[in-house]
Symmetry: C2
């Protein structure tokens, strides 16, 4: 029977268990922008302060952020991304690109990103092996867990 109610094992789900709660990715956004103090976070994100405190504890515990004192007497802290936290930036870039495109049609963007090459950043996901941009139709999923299958490629329609 293999416990028929367990969901599919999946790194996407596991990652969302870490950063998928409401506000968590917005905390990461602000922290990556350099705004790491509690009041700034509360204002810039629009999150209730108690929830923000809970999220910050979780993200520190998960190794995504670090909390460091920038002043003793009075004790004051700010939050910064760890190396692991910075490696979540692709998630933020992908979310931003989708919103810029589908929600704003690339007009009146509230923020743009400049890449060090001098151009505005348009993030493109490529295959590390061959270097070409990745499209849905070029992918084949290979589940490794017995009992979990996929139906295979899907027409968009």
């Amino acid at each position: 029977m293999a416990a028929p109610k367990d969901p599919r094992p999946c790194s996407i789900a596991d990652t969302l268990a870490v950063v998928g709660e409401k506000y968590s990715l917005l905390v990461l956004r602000e922290v990556c922008l350099g705004n790491g103090r509690f009041d700034q976070l509360a204002r810039n994100i629009g999150a209730p302060r108690d929830i923000l405190a809970t999220r910050l504890r979780r993200l520190v515990e998960a190794g995504v952020l670090t909390r460091r004192a920038y002043s003793e007497h009075p004790q004051r802290f700010d939050y910064r991304p760890t190396a692991a936290g910075l490696e979540l930036e692709p998630v933020l870039m992908a979310l931003k690109e989708w919103g810029d495109h589908h929600l704003r049609h690339h007009t009146d963007l509230p923020m743009t990103m400049e890449h060090s090459c001098g151009h505005e950043l348009v993030p493109v996901v490529t295959c590390r092996a061959c270097g070409s941009p990745v499209h849905h139709d070029d992918l084949t999923a290979h589940p490794q867990t017995p009992g979990w299958t996929v139906k295979g490629p899907v027409a968009t329609s």
Copy 2:
């Protein structure tokens, strides 16, 4: 005053308002894998059926999924990604890559993706203009909305 409690305007937040609720991105995962039926979704995701129904309505309404009958008498439906839905795959790839790396250290992965070039997919975010992989330190944020600033690049630890 400009309403001092409003959060920073941001495409990331706007995108999360569409797909950021619990289970939404897992629905998209399953649908992109070709598992688009209600019972399959409920089983593979592990979501309560009422919440799943709510999420599916939202995602269809937002233009991320379409609902189509694959049988009349009895009426039976399945859900598929729209073009806009497929363009959220970079988000899923980024989440999967982070989980594969930081939660599983690239061992015993529950699923792998094969790219059409024949290699296992390792997604890399690159700059469309110059083609090179994007790193945090290569980015400069330019807020376009008056009153919203950033502190600039951040040291990691």
